[in-house]
Amino acid sequence: MKHLSDETLNEYLDAALAAAQQADAQSHLAACPACAMRLSEFQNLFTELEAMPDLALDLNLAPVIVTRLGRPAALPGYLRWLAFFQLATAGLALALGWQLIRAIFPLEMPPQFSALAAGFSGLVAADLNLLSSLPKFSFEIPSPGLDLPATTLTIAIVSVSLLWLAGNGLLLTPRSRRQP
């Protein structure tokens, strides 16, 4: 009689044999005390292994985890670089757009309250005049005083907007979705 191999006995105990092989092994085990003994040794080993008690934990991990989750997650390295790049681009955009800003707001000094009030009443008066002259209204794009071609300016504005969206979109991602 050919004895069952250790592999077969293992697979028999794991119920991993095909149905026919499982049945063959079962009938062999019923007739072969040597294989039945080896099977019993494996069985005892499995039982002892699985009955091994859990080792006690010295500390409660829950408060540690909750505290860690409460902290802002560290930003990934690439995001830190993106923030730096955002800052640099904002600085560049400010430098490039300075002439435009000066063209729109030609004030040399910060406005006083009286100047603001006068400006506001002037604006109201101008608006009223504008309303009265609606039929004759015509709009002229103010010249920003820049030498940049319109396409370059558009590309710059779109790029800055995309960068802003990408950077802030990632920054505002919920912590639970960020990698720790």
């Binding site: 250790d6 592999e7 989750l69």
Partner: protein, 182 residues
């Protein structure tokens, strides 16, 4: 102590309620720690890895299937983390003594003492196995994975998984036999 089912706690944790996740940690931390300990054999490292497993699980809660129980999933996360750790830093020698039995022998009834001694022999024999075999035993006997699931988890061919598992059991049996005969 919150009596809510795991599913409710997970839903609340997904909405950002960290306390709900803390309750899940309370319920499963012992099992997760023991997965790590059985694989790493070092208490502090096992505690660290258990923490990392929970942190990782929190970031992946959205992908968790609510129809499945939480415990097997978190144990699998812990096992995967330990696998990565073992492959990055293979242990040279497992330190056992201080971690194993902490009970005072004088206070233990004889039968319980004997049972504890046997458990510690098994734990020591398990930790003395090569990491690869330890992992096979962990996944099969403690996490109750099928051969196919083990192969998927370990990213190994089915034949390698079977071979590792059979060798691990054999080696463990030999170690325990030697221990008993001493």
């Amino acid at each position: 102590m919150d009596d809510s089912p795991d599913r409710d706690l997970i839903l609340r944790a997904r909405r950002g309620e960290t306390e709900a996740f803390g309750e899940l940690v309370c319920r499963t931390q012992l099992a997760v720690f023991n997965v790590c300990y059985r694989l790493l054999g070092e208490r502090r490292e096992a505690e660290d890895l258990a923490q990392e497993a929970f942190m990782r699980a929190y970031t992946r809660l959205d992908s968790f299937d609510l129809e499945r129980p939480f415990l097997p999933w978190i144990r699998r996360v812990a096992a995967n983390l330990c696998l990565n750790r073992l492959s990055e830093h293979p242990p040279t020698l497992v330190q056992l003594s201080e971690d194993l039995e902490r009970a005072d022998p004088e206070e233990e009834p004889a039968a319980r003492l004997e049972q504890n001694e046997r458990s510690e022999q098994i734990r020591a024999a398990l930790l003395a196995l090569p990491p690869r075999y330890r992992v096979a035993l962990e996944l099969r006997h403690f996490q109750e994975l099928s051969y196919e699931e083990m192969a998927q988890t370990l990213n190994l061919p089915l034949s390698d998984v079977k071979s590792d598992l059979f060798r691990a059991r054999k080696m463990l049996a030999v170690k325990l036999k030697n221990e008993t005969s001493l």
